[in-house]
Each structure stands twice: as C-alpha cells, then as structure tokens.
Subunit: 203 residues, 2 copies
C-alpha cells in the first residue's frame, strides 16, 4: 500500500464495505421487523430467535423499547407524530445494523402500515423481513403482562393500540405467525427457517 | 428447554447478552470516538483503522456524517442545539453498536467537551476511547477538501468550527494523534496499538 507522505494531500481511504463485513461474519445483514399488539409476544419470540441464531454462531442484535425508549428516543412520547418519529429512528438504526452485516431484530408495535413501509424502503426491500405476530386481542388482553390493557380500558392510558388507537395489520408480511396455541419455540423456529430459506444465515 | 404450552402464560425469554456476543465474535465492544477540526483527517484515519482491523478479522462499524446526517439526523441543522442533539444521537447509536460487541468508530467534529463527556458517560468510560485528531488549523484550512473553510472565511457559512465557532480541544484523550508530518498509516497504527493494549481486540 503506497500513500502520499505529505499530510497536505488528503488520502481518501476507502470504507470497509458491507460485502467485506459479511464475508468476515459469514452471514448477510437483514432487518427482521416484528410487529403486533402489546402482549402479542414480539419481544419473547424475537429473543428466542436470537438464542437459536446464537447457537448457530450467527451475529444478531435486538432493538426494542428497552434499549431505545430510554436512550435514543427518550425525547419522544406517544402522540401519533412521536410514534412515527420513534419508528423512523428505529428504521434508521436498524438500517445501520443491517449495513454492519448483523441480523437485526426489532420488536415494536409499529401499528401504522406507512411507518413499516418507510422502514422497508429505508432498509431496502430485499433485506427487510416483516414478521406479523398475529395474536388475538383477547389473548393479549388476558396476558396483560404490564397491566397496560387494564389502564387503557379504564381510560388511564390514552391512545392505546387495539383499544383506543388503531392497529393496521400487515397485508403482505414475509412471515405471518399465528401464535395462538403454538409454543414460543415453534414460532421462533418458523422465523429462523424463513431466514435460512432467504440465505441470510450464510455469506 | 421446557416451556409452558399455554400461550396465556408469557414466557420471558432472556436476552442474548453482550458477553455471549463478544465470546462469539472474539472481541470486546467499544467506541472509538474521533474528534477534531474539519479536514483534520478523522474520517481518513478512522477508515484506515477499519481496514487494519478487518485484516485481523475484527468486526467494526463506522458512524459518520455520511451515514447519519442523511438518515437518522436528517432533521437536524447546525445550530448549537442541533449539533448537541446530533452528537447525543450519535452517542446513543454508538452505545448500541458497542453493546452488540462491535468495535465502533465515530468520526464527527464534536467540538464541545460536554457533548463528548455525555457520550462517554452513556457508553461507559471503560469502553470509550477518545481520539483527538490534532491537526493544526492552518493545515486543515490549506487542505480544505470540501471548500468549506473558504466559504467560512467569506461568511457564506456561519458557525464554522475553528473559524466562527469554538473547538474545545480534549484535555485528556485516550489517544492524542499529532498528525502533522505523519502518514495516515502511522496514525491508524497508533490507534490499533492502543486498542490492542486495552484488550478490545480479543474476547
């Protein structure tokens, strides 16, 4: 490698690109975008997918409310505008992780089709896997792990998806998980199988 | 692995954690934060570091204006407030990449000590490496790769760091690169050597 000795000439170093990173990692970057109602099992299935992929030595990273709402998106609330900005930023960060060669999993309610479509466009459709975690509202509400449905029904929480705010179900998700009566493992395996079929698990 | 068959019981899957990712990758996540004037060589040195690390099979990712200003931070301008928000978001995203086990390189002017300190606090001091790319203003201005200094001197660009806006030089950077008269390779190697000494290049 030769380069000018004078620092007065700017040496435009080429970026290490995605192909090189993917060859090193032995996998292809993608975004696995889980969407569904609160309590549908997005995070739970997503985490199980991460564990299954770790066993196969696939490098993953999960983005969810736990690591974004208290950091990057801590300035955002739950108005329609803030929800859209929240999902816009998630999409941008997911795109960066995809570009790094990581199998990136996001778990957000993301109730609006236009926001999910924007994320798909940003990431690139060929690297975007929309996973609809389709769990009936009554099942989600009976789980109510954080007591949020109860608060939504009483009016203590406004704009709650499925109760007082819309959820626009995906019309053409890459993976449609009908979770009711199915184990977490079975749902997670369905996602892993799809990723394998699409060739993301090897470079 | 046993788990409840009823989907009415929420199975709290454990996250794959950073230790597991780092063991898989054979390295430790960190943030290498390049700071310096426009034209000082932040991006150039950072890219060369990435190449040197790739040769050693270390997984890296670089964050810079090219992949953030047009995506995540496209809503931000160059006022003092927007610059701080820009750097806050960069710090948050860098923290996520660090948490993923990646050797993360950021290349932003980041002129304010308080913003760099905030990034350090967010990432965790033990995982944060501040690299001061210390190139004399007259050298940066003579390079002027994008013609920005010329526009700043003529007043066409306001609030330009080093000309019409302050640059607060780091007082205690982990790596202090005196780049003048040194090759890009030599500067980059200095950073790599430091990362090796700190144990980031193996798990």
């Amino acid at each position: 490698m030769s380069e000018p000795k004078s620092t007065h000439i700017r040496w435009h170093g080429a970026n290490v690109d995605r192909n090189e990173r993917e060859a090193l990692l032995g996998q292809r970057g993608c975004v696995v975008w889980f969407t569904g109602l609160s309590g549908s099992g997005k995070s739970t299935v997503s985490r199980r997918v991460e564990q299954l992929l770790l066993e196969r030595k696939v490098v993953t990273y999960g983005l969810d409310g736990d690591n974004l709402r208290f950091g990057l998106n801590k300035d955002l609330g739950f108005s329609a505008e803030d929800r859209s900005e929240n999902i816009r930023r998630v999409g941008c960060v997911a795109q960066l992780f995809m570009d790094s060669g990581t199998v990136t999993l996001t778990a957000f309610i993301s109730p609006y089709q236009r926001d999910r479509d924007a994320a798909r466009a940003l990431v690139g459709a060929e690297r975007f896997v929309e996973v609809f975690v389709d769990t009936p509202l009554e099942v989600c509400e009976s789980r109510d792990p954080k007591g949020l449905y109860k608060k939504a029904r009483s009016g203590e929480i406004a704009n709650f998806t499925g109760i007082s705010a819309p959820y626009e179900a995906p019309t053409a998700p890459e993976v449609h998980l009908l979770t009711d009566g199915k184990t977490v493992d079975a749902s997670a395996q369905e996602v892993v199988d799809y990723l394998e079929t699409r060739g993301f698990l090897e470079a």
